[in-house]
């Protein structure tokens, strides 16, 4: 299992391939890529709590591994200022069976989108503001 919080973009295909390169049993990789949606948003800035955010993600991945039989988990979450269409997050889960891979991937994503220690600021033509917790899970 590998968790990265980084400003840099990532290569989804390479990450998915790496996840299964070492496991002959990995018949299934479910993954999710989240992107900055366009529309009124001109840019989005993501802030995190270095140390605590990584720890929180590691805990949720460990929880997923307790719930499902997983062969590998990769989480990459970008921080900093991102433009519409840019990738924000990748969660990829390898398992022997697709149901476990899907369920665990969705479980980790639900946590990431709602409870992970990130704060979002949106820039629109009307200005810039921090997103309220209540409205934040509208997206993706």
């Amino acid at each position: 299992m590998s968790i990265s919080i980084q400003e840099a973009d990532f290569d989804s295909g390479a990450e998915i391939a790496t996840l299964t390169a070492d496991s002959a049993d990995a018949g299934a990789v479910a993954s999710f890529v989240g992107l900055v949606r366009g529309g009124e948003i001109r840019a989005m800035t993501l802030e995190h709590y270095p140390g605590m955010t990584e720890k929180a993600l590691a805990e949720i991945v460990a929880e997923a591994r307790r719930r499902w039989e997983l062969l590998g988990v990769r989480v990459i979450h970008r921080v900093g200022r991102l433009l519409p269409g840019e990738r924000i997050v990748l969660v990829a889960v390898a398992s022997t069976h697709r149901q476990a891979a899907f369920a665990a991937c969705e479980f980790i994503m639900d946590y990431l989108k709602t409870r992970a220690p990130f704060w979002k600021r949106e820039e629109t033509t009307a200005g810039s503001r921090w997103v309220d917790a209540r409205e934040s899970d509208d997206e993706a």
Partner: protein, 84 residues
């Protein structure tokens, strides 16, 4: 005692800094007591006392405001997380 205090998101912006060291008289205080001590310095810090749904972590674990803060702890104040 000395604690490291961190601020995130809107608080960090309002205070113009993401961290500071706070020297507090005595050897123990609650997270709420620390918050009130900082807020007592006036604006912009006073908004810590007004903030709806202020959250707190001690040593990178979420805690309530009755949690004990000790010498050397890392205490963070922030608004509710908005997720990734």
């Amino acid at each position: 005692m000395t604690v490291k205090v961190l601020y995130f998101a809107g608080l960090r912006e309002a205070f113009g800094t993401g961290s500071e060291e706070i020297v507090f008289p005595g050897g123990v205080v609650t997270a709420g007591g620390l918050r009130d001590h900082i807020a007592g310095r006036g604006e912009p810090w006073a908004q810590l006392a007004r903030a709806r749904n202020l959250r707190c972590a001690v040593n990178q674990a979420m805690v309530g405001f009755d949690a004990v803060v000790q010498e050397g702890d890392e205490v963070a104040f922030f608004p509710p997380v908005t997720g990734g």
